[in-house]
Amino acid sequence: MSLGRYVLTRLLVAVPVLLGVTVLTFSFLHALPGDPVDAIIGYQSVSPETEASIRAEYHLDRPVWEQYLLWLRDALTLEFGRSPVTGRSVAATIGRRLPATLALGGAAWLLALAIGIPAGIVAAVKRGEPADELSRVAALAGIATPNFWLGLVLLLVFSVRLGWFRVIPPDAPLASLAMAKFMLLPTVTLGTASAALVTRLLRSSMLRELEAGYVRTARAKGLRERTVILKHVLRNSLLPVVTVAGLQLAFLVDGAVVVEQIFSWPGMGRLMVQSILQRNYPVIQAAVLVIGVSIVLVNLLVDIVYAVLDPRIRY
């Protein structure tokens, strides 16, 4: 099977996955206590006619399965309606929020790899030496530190006390130097745990590969140690890291819920929290779908990277 056909198949498989995700969110939302109409009218009393017309506007008068189908029909044309809370277009709100979360999650992910891969290599090559011990302690600390705590401490030390960074995002476009500078602390907060995980994983994966026969052969034929490690061992050790790195990107979107709160970052995480508290069904549904699509796409990308890393894998 060619790569093109493989990608196509995977995209087709993604359709039932996304449908499943939306059905689950829809059912969970409707299982929550509380009537969304009450949230819309602000827990006041309105005339029965007005209540009926609000119910009809958001299809809340139909059975749940029919509400779902109506929602799905609109979602397919990217028509997510208006937020009953703010009166603004849901698509426009998500269009603003999504790039912010993707930028933060992407930056944290790159940071995790940029720290985790070199640290993992060093730890494996210098096994048992101080560099290895240090990386293991650091990785353990990285995994064990809750990101809400790390975020607040970084904010207090570097932004409030030292004044190196702003506490809240600057009034600048997302793709600007001022914004890139501001993103440093949230990126570190979000990326630390993932960096630690990548370090640990790569270290153990490389240690296993270093025992393999082909490493002895490579050394025996007089290859430089550097070439043995970087060209042979690293490449073979990366497969589990790639799997985890793909999953971590999804995990980073989750982590964004906390980090966005601390750094006042206008992303999807805060939007979701707020919308759930407000029983804002249209926004929650659309946000879950958009995040689901992003995660499916990332995992597809991961599978393509497999093939690039390991020529034995053919689709």
């Binding site: 009218i41 207090l156 409030v160 004044g163 506490v167 809240i168």
Partner: protein, 292 residues
Amino acid sequence: MNDTASSRATQLVYEGLTGVDFDGTVRPVLAEDWTQLDPTTYRVSLREGVRFHNGEELTAAHVAGSFERYEGEARESDVTDWYDGSEIVDDYTIDVRCWREYGPFEQRLFDLPIVPMAAIDGDLDLASRPVGTGPYRFDDYQSGDHWRLTRFADYWFDGDETVPAPAPIETVTLEIITEAAARQGALEAGDIDFSDGVPSASLADLERDAAYGVDRHVGGGFDLVIYPLYREPFSNAQVRRGCNMLIPRETIVENVYHGLGQPAYTPISPLLETYADEEFRERIADEYVRPD
């Protein structure tokens, strides 16, 4: 819109017929004067020469339209609780009819924004572009990030001894900061000039620091316990009274609110002086806080 930042922002954009000052006294805003013609009818004279941010000039038709636009909307109870109809007498005079005698009429007018005809006719979507008669006009809103407002050059108010005019600040940016610790951080780092929601544990520190001014107001909010009266044993008044005596009010005020607040024995705020006189307090104390 019903999130905090949005309501703060729109308070500067919209105005009602009346306003309520810091003492709770009703003051004229867009209404210059009003008289009660009979128990359910009020004649309201409007301020002349008031402009909306989109250039329209305030008339009685705006007032009628602003009240009537609520019908069938989620917020209709703001109006349908009392409003019956109105007759426009002339451009600057309108008779407002209530369907029942309505005590808080003047206070009610305070948070009913008067909006331009463009919004009443449906050409202007106030949700995405708020337009009113207030001292600040809408400039920009970024979801989850900020509201920006700029001073309205044609604002009607000429200033008085307490409030200067024009407003001294040209651009107001309301940053949306959900985390209370980050609000305090932003204040200390100078990213913001003012915050109304720092953690209560930090208030004492900020008060000691000469660099900050701390202003406190008594709020009307309270915590309460609701007993399910329909269920044993809460249907028994003795049990409820007993539970009530177990609530460590002083400890809650001290530890949960860091001393900000007062123990309450009824849902009636001390703001309502009439209900908070000595005799009343004693009776309440007698009823609820007897140690036996």
